[in-house]
Amino acid sequence: MKIYRYTLPLCPADISQLNISDKVLLSGCLFTARDAAHKRMVEIIQRGEKLPLDLAETTLFYCGPSPARPGNVCGAIGPTTSSRMDVYTPILIQNGLRVMIGKGERSLEVQKAIMDFGAVYFIMSGGISAYLSQHIVSCETFLWQELGPEAIYKLWVKDIPVYVHSK
């Protein structure tokens, strides 16, 4: 198992260097998005409007954090099941998205889009929130606060461990 250290956002050269099953320690900025945020993003694209974030520069993390206790930078975080986003992902990839983090397998359509557009899908282990909390620098609501845990949060991370699933 090769271990790499990368700063986000990843550029195409970074992605092309990676191999399936490599471990990567990511540092930089992640944007969380679950089902509801995906639905909204795709609706905005379909209406022909501009998204409030540049997908090409965005690392999407399928995650719904728990609220932070006062004094803590962040509550508990961890990946949710990626396949629930599969219906939305190809459209997002066509619109610039290249880096995704979640857990579990992806659909054939998503895998094809990942290959066609030079994207990468990382797996993060679920159920290790306390451990992962040590890798979070800050967390703030970025968009759609009314969605609660389904809002988009901006998460600064340091050396957060993920594994290359497909690229």
């Binding site: 099953s21 995650c63 728990s66 803590n72 099941t81 857990k103 282990s125 306390a130």
Partner: protein
């Protein structure tokens, strides 16, 4: 008959302590099983993640960050003695009130929506819990409390087999279930299998089976053997930890059975992720 009165405050405080405890501390026998899996594992990523899981278990109670951000649906199996009288509102109300308080106090993620199909508006407080009540003999209240995450629950399955089905068919169904689940259910798993009863009871049996102490063998030899066979078959799939390849896909298989109709053989497979958070309290 002498009755024992239990105050609603007693239940609330015991339950609150229990929910708090399982938010940060998993099944007491889980670390040993994870260590054992680690010793036998050859998959590099599986080993790497098993190590993280063990560190997570050590860290969570110290820093009071939940073991997993998905603190799930609260499932409670309540056995109430027929000589026990609860002073106060009905038990489900007490449970929900406590859950709402504890969710706020511990900053748990709100993970429950009001309506499953329409709007899916978050209740914001993790209520309602799912409560199964049965009346037993005696004057105590036994509560089995389970924080059940969505990932593994979503990959659970049920099939109405007919009496011609064999142990082998059931084994294949379980292997098929964990294969379809892949990494979605956050393996290594604890697999609860309910056999018998009817459509709804076999699902309940499967959930209850998960809650059996991990080191406890099935009392019926034939089922103990079947559990071991299923465990070996599941681990031979190569799915590994988090679906990333290895020998460790499940840590335990628990079967629970009930009588059933002459025409039926219902089987339910309820998957539990490695974040196995449950406790039993007796009041």
């Amino acid at each position: 008959m002498a009755y024992r009165y239990v105050s609603c405050e007693t239940i609330e405080s015991e339950l609150a302590n229990a929910i708090k405890y399982i938010t940060f501390t998993p099944d007491p026998e889980l670390p040993a099983l994870l260590k054992n899996a680690l010793a036998n594992e050859t998959g590099e990523i599986s080993k790497d993640i098993l190590n993280c899981m063990l560190k997570n278990i050590e860290l969570a109670p110290k820093i009071e960050i939940p073991l997993c951000q998905d603190t799930g649906t609260l499932v409670v199996f309540a056995e109430i003695g027929n000589q026990c009288i609860i002073e106060g509102p009905p038990l489900p109300e007490i449970i929900n009130e406590t859950l709402i308080k504890v969710s706020k106090e511990l900053y748990l993620r709100p993970s429950i929506v009001k309506d499953p199909l329409l709007q899916r508006e978050n209740t914001g407080n993790n209520a309602p819990a799912i409560v199964h009540i049965s009346i037993i003999k005696g004057d105590t209240i036994k509560l089995q409390i389970d924080q059940k995450g969505g990932g593994a629950e979503n990959m659970s399955r049920l099939q109405m087999f007919t009496p011609s089905a064999s142990s082998e068919d059931i084994k294949n169904f379980v292997v098929e279930t964990v294969t379809l689940a892949g990494g979605n259910a956050c393996p290594p798993l604890i697999i609860g299998i309910g056999i018998g009863g009817n459509f709804e009871t076999c699902a309940l049996l499967a959930k209850k089976a998960i809650l059996r102490p991990l080191s406890k063998k099935n009392p019926l030899k034939e089922y103990a053997v079947l559990e071991q066979e299923i465990l070996e078959s599941v681990n031979a799939t190569g799915i590994g930890v988090q679906g990333l390849g290895g020998k460790t896909n499940a840590l335990a298989v628990h079967i629970l059975t009930a009588p059933c109709h002459i025409a039926s053989l219902p089987v339910a497979v309820n998957l539990q992720c490695h974040s196995h958070r449950h406790i039993e309290i007796i009041i």
